[in-house]
């Protein structure tokens, strides 16, 4: 699969790769893919917005996400690796398709739930964890982008809370329907082992078993992501005992 953003290999100046570089390469590849997918989602969202301000917001978000992808790619180059991307990889493709179903229904609220509540929870939590352990500017970039992504969530939260205030039961049912679609896929991505075969993003074998070498683990990234998701749902006002059941029913 051809990367969606080009990586200028001539800028790679590292004389020798650190032993952990191949691990960061795959971590970055997942992050870049996620950012590019987010950019595509926001671009699609702009196409169903009626309000010119909303159109502008969505396009601005798309641009910001592309910027994040470029910053991650640059961090890869700094450590001497080419971090690729593949938005057509099996799980990412499924996530994109779920978002496009909302687009097809011109469901602006559904789009926000998928992108801002579900995908961003995953991004914020996992970037923050990586930011704590990754060395130097790589870690700083992950941490900064995690903080920026969190601002996206704040932006959407007010809209979604207002929507829930109109009809809480209807809203919660919608979130649950989307949860079953999107979070089931995310849960498979976050599983400790990739049981459905290669994810089509890692450049070689699955990176998950090697994460301990950089003080990470798949279980930790999953745990942090699900915790962030539950807290975000709490902030929306969905009863905690309800969301606990949703998360408990996800595949592992």
């Amino acid at each position: 699969m051809e990367p969606l953003i080009a990586v200028n290999c001539s800028t790679i100046e590292c004389a020798s790769l650190s032993p952990s570089a191949p691990i960061w390469q795959d971590v970055l590849a997942q992050a870049i893919t996620g950012e590019l997918l987010a950019a595509m989602n926001y671009t699609s969202l702009s196409e169903i917005c009626d309000d010119p301000e909303e159109v502008a917001d969505a396009l601005e978000h798309a641009q910001i996400e592309r910027g994040h992808a470029a910053r991650f790619a640059a961090e890869g180059r700094k450590i001497g690796v080419e971090a690729s991307n593949n938005v057509d990889a099996r799980h990412w493709k499924a996530l994109r398709e779920a978002f496009l179903r909302c687009i097809a229904e011109r469901d602006f609220i559904g789009c926000l739930i998928v992108q801002e509540i579900m995908l961003e929870s995953f991004a914020v939590a996992s970037y923050a964890r990586v930011g704590k352990v990754a060395p130097g500017s790589l870690g700083q970039t992950f941490a900064r982008i995690a903080a920026e992504e969190e601002e996206h969530v704040d932006h959407a939260m007010a809209i979604l809370r207002a929507e829930r205030a109109l009809d809480a039961q209807r809203f919660d049912n919608k979130v649950h329907r989307l949860h079953l679609d999107v979070m089931t896929t995310l849960a498979k991505m976050l599983a400790k082992e990739c049981k459905d075969g290669h994810c089509e993003v890692c450049h070689g074998n699955c990176v998950k078993p090697s994460l301990f070498e950089v003080s990470l683990s798949a279980a930790e990234l999953r745990g942090a992501s699900l915790q962030q998701y539950l807290k975000t749902l709490d902030m929306l006002g969905i009863p905690g005992e309800v969301t606990l059941g949703w998360v408990a029913q996800l595949p592992v």
Partner: protein, 408 residues
């Protein structure tokens, strides 16, 4: 454990989507991984395979405190109260001091859930009360919600259990020597004040020598024969164990690790810990062990979703630990007050007051039991030997025996 678990913001909402104030909230945590697995299994539903043990251990520590189910309790005089069971999701193997800050944050998070639900009175179950009893100022801003450790009713049921077991065994308590392990805790000191006047001699064991001395002085002023020992000095505890014929284990232990030493073969031992105090390898063969501090609701108890037999297991229906029952009893009585707070303030008068309230609503001492099952009482009373009970039996009785027992 990663991000802060204390920042939970949870609005109240019922399973059916309705919103409204609840009378009480019960804050608890699971005593074992088996119990935690069963809670998650109910949440997953019967159509999904239970999570493997390793996945449960990976996932549970990340779950923020939150309501697990709705609870309705009914009094024998027709009063009803509705509440929530809120789990702090303290992992069963993280009760040690090393996790104290994380666990306090979890209890604070659970307390925030209760406050958000506008609970009028909140009981702190298990380690929740131990973490908070001396630090009520660490709870979030409370509005109209009051908190009780529930320890007074726990003491009431321990004392009732000791008296009942002594009667069943034909003991004259006035000739007995009572050992209390964990004597300076809120529960231990409350038991000491209630039972010291009715026994011949009291042996107090705890870690903090200064607090021990203070309690001993208080009891001696009442004419009680008292001896103390820091249980850090194992020889002292062993000597005390050999001398005592009544033993209350009320120490704040992270796991069942109390060995006691060579105990009198016909001693009556009340294990009132949550988690249980007594180690499976304790040399207590021949002693009469029962689990103390438990009461039984006779008016009615309902969980939504149905967690009967899951939140804990017990050979009798509708059994709940005293500390949680205290909140329910206060709610049924419409006495929304912080009945038990702080450490060391439990008096016989307060114990009598709360047990009267509980009894008025049909909440009585639970039938006595231990890890092997119910104790029938009388001369043929089943002899307990925890050392002979496999650990898995202690954690999970056969499904047909399982009824509900909430911690406290």
């Amino acid at each position: 454990m990663g991000g802060s678990v204390a920042s939970v913001v949870e609005p109240v909402g019922a399973i059916d989507g309705t919103v409204g104030q609840v009378d009480f909230a019960l804050i608890g945590h699971q005593e074992s991984w088996r119990a935690a697995a069963d809670v998650l299994a109910v949440l997953r539903g019967p159509e999904r395979a239970p999570l493997p043990d390793d996945e449960i251990k990976d996932i549970l520590p990340w779950i923020p405190p939150r309501a697990v189910c709705h609870v309705e309790v009914e009094s024998i005089v027709g009063a009803k109260a509705r509440g929530l069971y809120i789990d702090s999701f303290i992992p069963p193997d993280r009760l040690e001091a090393a996790y104290v800050h994380e666990n306090i944050a979890r209890v604070r998070g659970a307390a925030a859930c209760a406050i958000n639900a506008e609970a009028k009175v909140v009981s702190l179950g298990g380690f929740s009360s131990i973490l908070i009893e001396g630090n009520f100022n660490q709870l979030p801003e409370r509005h109209d919600t009051v908190f009780t450790t529930g320890n007074t009713l726990t003491v009431a049921f321990i004392v009732q259990g000791i008296k009942k077991m002594s009667a069943l065994e034909g003991r004259d308590m006035r000739r007995s020597t009572l050992l209390i392990v964990g004597a300076t805790g809120d529960v231990g000191s409350g038991c000491a004040r209630c039972l010291a006047p009715v026994v011949k001699r009291v042996l107090l064991s705890a870690r903090n020598v200064e607090r021990l001395s203070r309690l001993a002085t208080e009891l001696q002023a009442e004419g009680v024969q008292v001896e103390i020992a820091s249980d850090l000095l194992e020889n002292h505890l062993q000597q005390f164990s050999a001398d005592a014929d009544l033993v209350i284990c009320a120490a704040s232990l992270a796991s069942p690790s109390l060995l006691l030493g060579r105990i009198a073969p016909d001693a009556i031992v009340c294990d009132a810990g949550y988690p249980k105090n007594l180690s499976p390898s304790a040399e207590i063969s021949g002693t009469k062990v029962f689990f103390g501090g438990l009461g039984q609701i006779t008016g009615g108890l309902k969980f939504t979703p149905d967690f009967h037999g899951i939140l804990n297991r017990h050979p009798f229906p509708d059994v709940v630990h005293g500390c949680l029952l205290e909140g329910m009893a206060l709610a049924l009585e419409s006495r929304f007050e912080p009945f038990s707070q702080g450490r060391g303030f439990i008096t016989p008068e307060r114990v009598e007051e709360i047990e009267t309230i509980a009894a008025r609503h049909g909440i009585y001492l639970a039938p006595l039991y231990n890890a092997e099952g119910p104790l029938n009482g009388g001369p043929d009373c089943q002899t307990a030997c925890l050392a002979d009970v496999p650990i898995h039996r202690r954690e999970m009785p056969p499904p047909e025996d399982m009824h509900v027992e909430l911690q406290g």
